[in-house]
Amino acid sequence: MKITVAGEKKEVKEGLTVAELIAIEDVETPEYVTVSLNEEFVEQEGFSATTLKEGDEVEFLYFMGGGR
């Protein structure tokens, strides 16, 4: 099936979960990443239980913060 990840169309296997996509995409420090799926945020604890579907749009949002 085709999904869009960070603006790029990709072919992935049916039934792929968000957790599996994070591993495939080699996302560093996933604990600092927020995932949006079709503009809705997915909670970290829901990564393994959230299955992707044809046409889904995923964005990985790195935590953006810091200090002086």
Binding site: T29, S36, G66, R68
Partner: protein, 142 residues
């Protein structure tokens, strides 16, 4: 990596940073990576520092997502973020390094420590063998 930022974008960033000082200002940068290795910033986003302090900044993921949607619609690529150091130099603090987790991003820091002579630098931060390594990027205001 060589980075370019337009003078008007730099000035808008500076103006925003001064307007919210002494709080840290923050936002995102978007543009294109040119084949010859030049990272061209084409748009700067001024976003709310939800911490509202002079010691930290945090960008709300909702604001981040809205900005990224805007970038996608304009065929721009997310290139990283920027923030101000109202009272300290233009270099990543330990907290900045700890929270810089996107090795593809450029991290711009605008120092207002000397109000008469603001300094903007770009940095690449990458975790190598468990240690955060910082490399200054060549940044030109064009």
């Amino acid at each position: 990596m060589q980075i370019t930022i337009k003078k008007e974008d730099y000035e808008a960033m500076l103006s925003h940073a001064k307007s919210v000082a002494p709080e840290e200002a923050c936002g995102l940068i978007a543009g294109e990576d040119q084949p010859e290795g030049i990272r061209e910033i084409k748009k700067v986003y001024m976003l709310e520092n939800v911490d509202h302090t002079n010691e930290h900044f945090t960008i709300d993921p909702k604001d981040q997502l809205a900005a990224i949607k805007d970038m996608r619609s304009a065929n721009l690529k997310p290139l990283g973020n920027w923030h101000s150091h109202p009272e300290s130099p233009s270099r990543p603090s330990e907290e900045d390094k700890r929270l810089a987790n996107d090795k593809n991003a450029s991290y711009l820091i605008l120092s207002l420590e000397n109000a008469e002579d603001p300094v903007l630098n770009g940095f690449h931060v990458e975790s190598i063998d468990g240690e955060k390594t910082v490399r200054k990027e060549e940044l030109s205001i064009v």
